[in-house]
């Protein structure tokens, strides 16, 4: 009876209820959307590197080195010499290294030159290894391994030939047309920038830039390299040694520390976005309260009838609260549906343009806590109209 009464009451005021429902839906959608994308972006960034102790590049800021070496965002300030790389990789404390060479692209996707150690040692997420959907790692100079998204979006198969372009813009005027590469492997999706990367050997990178007649494709420079140590205890010691490396100015960073610095920088923007969305939600909830308060004025007679039938204050209080709850629940459900559909349609855009792998699974703890807070806030803001429902002059309303 109670829920039916609240539901029928809302239906009898469709226009005002629909507008309030839309306002709350949009604000919940904005709040949950920002929170979900924020969490997913962080998680996506955090999952990109796993088990890498140090990243070494030319002397630059920690965040810049992290962004270009791991996330393929931005560009290196300078390259480092192959001899320095070899010197450090033979350090007895170093277990493995993965050299990377960036600067070329294929149809807007970054090309990364590396060695087969990349497929052996690179870890993402919860220390997951890179696996092949088809084919294998490159072994010849002009072999190429594609990330899952590149293969999917460009509809490439094993054996397809492709050419690299100089630079990282989606349109390049310098194509290495004379040196086509052949696809020998396609990686499984990882939800990291690996999916957006075209992997070739370091010798392949050297070969496309080689002068006519050049036969030795040993690189002279690389962009950066990742380091795995035999003992975590040695991390700071090796980092200090690299930072003080005499033959060449180098930077060695701890990926976790650089990520924390990145989050500190983005925290101000994140908090501003959250604050704005909270204010939008608060405005909508106040709108809900105003709508209910106005409806109480319109419904004085109806409320007086209920009181004349013996309705206790708690009944009227809960009736108004239930109406607020029904609107907020319906808005939350619709906002979640809207968010799910938006993520579904924007997923590939976010992945391609921002290397962000956003999950469509929106039911994580944060979102559930937020929904709970929204419902409690709706109950609190509806208290004024709920309390005012009983404080009506009963006799006047019945006889007017």
């Amino acid at each position: 009876m109670f829920i039916r009464l609240a539901w029928r009451s809302l239906l009898s005021r469709k226009g005002a209820v629909a507008m309030t429902f839309l306002a709350i839906t949009v604000s919940i959608f904005v709040l949950l959307g920002i929170e979900h994308i924020r969490q997913q972006a962080k998680s996506s960034f955090n999952n990109t590197v796993s088990g890498i102790d140090l990243i070494v590049g030319a002397r630059t800021g920690e965040i810049n080195l992290l962004l270009y070496s791991v996330f393929r965002l931005g560009n290196a300030t300078n390259n480092i010499s192959w001899s320095s790389y070899q010197d450090i990789s033979t350090n007895p404390k170093v277990a493995w290294t993965i050299p990377i060479s960036l600067g070329d692209s294929h149809k807007g996707y970054r090309v990364m030159g590396t060695t087969t150690d990349y497929f052996k040692h690179f870890r993402y997420g919860q220390k997951q290894t890179l696996n092949f959907t088809q084919g294998k790692a490159f072994s010849e100079v002009f072999d190429v391994v594609l990330g899952a998204a590149v293969a999917r979006e460009l509809n490439y198969q094993l054996g397809t030939q492709l050419v690299l372009a100089h630079g990282v813009a989606s349109t390049s005027f310098t194509q290495h047309d004379d040196k086509p590469f052949r696809i020998v492997g396609i990686l499984q999706p990882t939800g990291t920038p690996v999916d957006q990367t075209v992997h070739v050997s370091l010798r392949g990178i050297e070969a496309v830039h080689a002068k006519r007649g050049q036969r030795d494709f040993t690189p002279t420079t690389i962009t950066a390299f990742m380091v795995g140590l035999k003992s975590k205890m040695a991390t700071f010691h090796v980092q200090r040694d690299i930072n003080n490396y005499q033959p060449e100015p180098l930077s060695a960073i701890l990926p976790g520390v650089a990520l924390s610095q990145l989050w500190q920088i983005t925290a101000i923007m994140e908090n501003t976005l959250i604050l704005v969305s909270i204010l939008v939600l608060l405005a909508s909830l106040l709108g809900l309260s105003a709508m209910l308060l106005t409806s109480i004025r319109e419904r004085r007679r109806e409320i007086a009838i209920m009181r004349s039938l013996g309705a206790p204050p708690s009944f009227l209080f809960l009736l108004i609260q239930t109406e607020a709850l029904l609107i907020t629940l319906a808005s939350s459900a619709f906002a979640l549906l809207l968010l799910f559909l938006s993520l579904l349609s924007l997923r590939s855009f976010l992945t391609e343009n921002f290397s962000l792998s956003i999950s469509t699974n929106i039911f994580d703890n944060n979102i559930l806590y937020l929904l709970l807070i929204i419902l409690v806030s709706a109950m609190i803001t509806s208290m004024v109209p709920a309390i005012s429902a009983y404080s009506n002059a009963l006799q006047k309303r019945l006889n007017n």
Partner: protein, 231 residues
Amino acid sequence: MTVSIRNLRFSYDKTSHDPILEIPEWSVAAGEHVFLHGPSGSGKSTLLNLLAGILATTEGSIKILDQSLDLMSERQRDKFRANHIGLVFQQFNLIHYLSALDNIRLANHFTSAPFRKKTDSRAKELLKTLGINAALHNQPASSLSTGQQQRVAIARSLINTPELLIVDEPTSALDSQSRDAFMTMLMDTVTQHNITLIFVSHDQSLTRYFSRTVALQEINVARGNHSCLSA
């Protein structure tokens, strides 16, 4: 006695020395059907609201079924009204977006637990007795005719089997034929359930249906201008 009033004084303005109602003594026996009349502004609706516990007395006591309303809190009066008193208002006061059945169910919702059993079957039976077709039971009250709304209002007032039924000007919007049909139906129902009835109307032609007729001026000794009142 179903109704017993002693030294009642009532004024909307508590500081006023000129009460609207001043009734030294008045009572209605169980099962009596009382027709209460009086000119507009004489305080009829005010008296009914006091008897129903919607208004609280300023002075004196009102006992309904030997329970003193003046000793009860507002909440206790609401509960007492739900359990023992049926009300039919001049404008029927149905909740327009609820169906005929839901309006009756709602009245039953506020009673104490023993009365709440078999509500639906009893509500349908009451509506059938009052001539409301089953097809109309789930129609919103706003879509019913005035006569149908009036009968739903009576069914609602009877759902909790009240000992006292208070009816305020229910025939003012009806033509003479509908009015007579309504009165016959009402009197049959209250007689059948042995309900004490207090019926307020301007229409003196209705006195023939009642065992006792009371002019409010006879029991109300208050002097003053009552033209501002609603009845």
